[in-house]
Symmetry: C2
Subunit: 307 residues, 2 copies
């Protein structure tokens, strides 16, 4: 029973107040796989890359237990490319260039060997592609988690709403939650969005942490206060990877376990922002992760018996 | 052994997207006393009001155990008046009018009966006035907590730094921490500010919660996600009142107890923002407070054994 991950594998070119990355490997599904592979060794990837995508990257992911038979390699085309610039407030960024390339006409094909999918992680991507993967799975996964972004709210709202209607957990950031719901209050926004389908809603607030909503309940996980956020690219995807990775490892889709999964996701994201791209995710060990999770415990733990 | 509170008692005139308050009672020391009096019945207030300040307000505070012998009433003058307007993002506001009135030449006099001060809460006020109170106390209080604001950084930085050098706990918001330290990263800002004197620093982030720094440790308390923030005026003062009120009740100035005190402060602030001015603080019961604190436990509690 596997974790199937859908999303882009691509190139990013990033500028922050601390430096330039030049062209490096990025993409939602790349970050998700790097992050989740710390917790699950049965990950099956669905994506598309061009002939320019480094074989070493694919080999490394394969070495971490990521099945790449669902990754199409279009040798005569180029991989998706995104270039962006962050300012001191890392919560906002300017897109400098977007080249869809292989993503322009991506038609995902779910291999037969992926039909044992227990958990489906839909990384941020064209909603119609996300929907196509859901439809190709003969049996509905136990849990479908979906990430998306404001771009699809502006360009493909109908398709987006259709996918949102099919998923269990939706991940958006605070401004996207406001845009999708038409509500300024995040509590009201959550209520509106959960009526669209998802039983669980995670609102990511960047350096201000993340909220999990379910029915009338709410859970808050802070972001770790860091000396420096070097490059926030991929933080949300890494968060998603840690979240679904923990769920896949424990096979427990209860609300209580989702709270823990959000802490795991937050811990993983706190590594990604320390260096450009996926670099930190390539360096960290099980011990680093355990230590970071303990920092979260210290960060929020207080003694209620004192009150 | 008492809790001495210093700060303004004044009038506010507030406009938010939800309505207008007209002229109502406000002021840092007013909110602090309303909030702290839920936890301590030995509060001694230092402030100044004009002849226009309602006697009923003074009577009500007195009825809650607040000693007002340090509150000067200048019958032929007017109380401090502030008028401001909030927009949808309640983290920022425009000041429409400020009339210093009695605050213009406020010379605080600490009554002899206040010399048993164990805890000193310096609400936001002219730094020289805060310093005058510290100097008039013959024995240094066990804990001095200070609130301030960016206005004093711009107009009285020398005086402000002198007071900061004398206190144990400093309260500022995130933009003030950045301004005071010249550091964008709040972790770096905290380190810089703690070198100026305070062993503990609380950085308030409004709807994004609050951070407590001490040596190399950090604790985070979220703000309660609310359907609507009706009026944020006084939220920071109420937070300070809950914080010092809990410390005064428990007489425990350990780091661990400060974490709990921050949760208490956050719970109290979550009431204040529900209505204009001090209105909610006048309505709530011990049961309301206990229930709200339990909501904070639910909000941040996760099961580490699952990881």
């Amino acid at each position: 029973m596997s974790l199937v991950v859908v999303g882009s594998m691509a190139f990013d070119d990033i500028e922050t107040p601390f430096g330039k990355s030049d062209k490096i490997v990025g993409g939602a599904a790349t970050y998700i796989a790097w992050s989740a592979s710390n917790f699950s060794h049965d990950i099956k990837q669905i994506s598309v890359v061009g002939g320019d995508f480094p074989q070493t990257e694919l080999d490394e992911l394969h070495g971490r237990g990521v099945d790449l038979s669902g990754v199409q390699v279009k040798k005569d085309q180029k991989s998706f490319y995104w270039s962006g610039k962050y300012h001191m407030d890392m919560n906002t960024r300017d897109t400098l260039d977007t080249q869809l390339n292989v993503l322009a006409d991506f038609n995902p094909v779910v291999p037969e060997s992926y039909q044992d999918c227990e958990f489906l992680m839909l990384g941020n991507l064209v909603p119609a592609v996300q929907m196509s993967v859901i439809r190709q799975l003969k049996q509905r996964p136990r849990l479908i988690v979906m990430d998306t972004m404001n771009f699809w709210m502006q360009t493909a709202l109908g398709d987006l709403e259709a996918v949102i209607g099919q998923v269990d957990v939706l991940l958006v950031n605070d401004s996207e939650a406001r845009e999708l719901s038409g509500q300024f209050s995040l509590v009201k926004a959550a209520r509106t969005i959960m009526k669209m389908g998802p039983k669980y809603l995670i609102i990511k607030k960047g350096e201000h942490g993340a909220l999990l909503f379910h029915e009338e309940r709410v859970f808050f996980a802070p972001a770790l206060p860091l000396e420096e956020v070097f490059d926030p690219t991929g933080a949300g995807d890494t968060f998603a990877g840690g979240f679904i990775g923990h769920i896949a490892r424990t096979r427990d889709i209860s609300y209580d376990n989702m709270k823990t999964a959000i802490i795991v996701g937050s811990a993983m994201a706190s590594f990604t922002v320390e260096k450009f791209g996926t670099q930190r995710l390539r360096e960290i060990t099980k011990e680093d992760i355990d230590e970071r999770i303990q920092e979260f415990v210290q960060l929020v733990n207080f003694d209620i018996t004192l009150i």
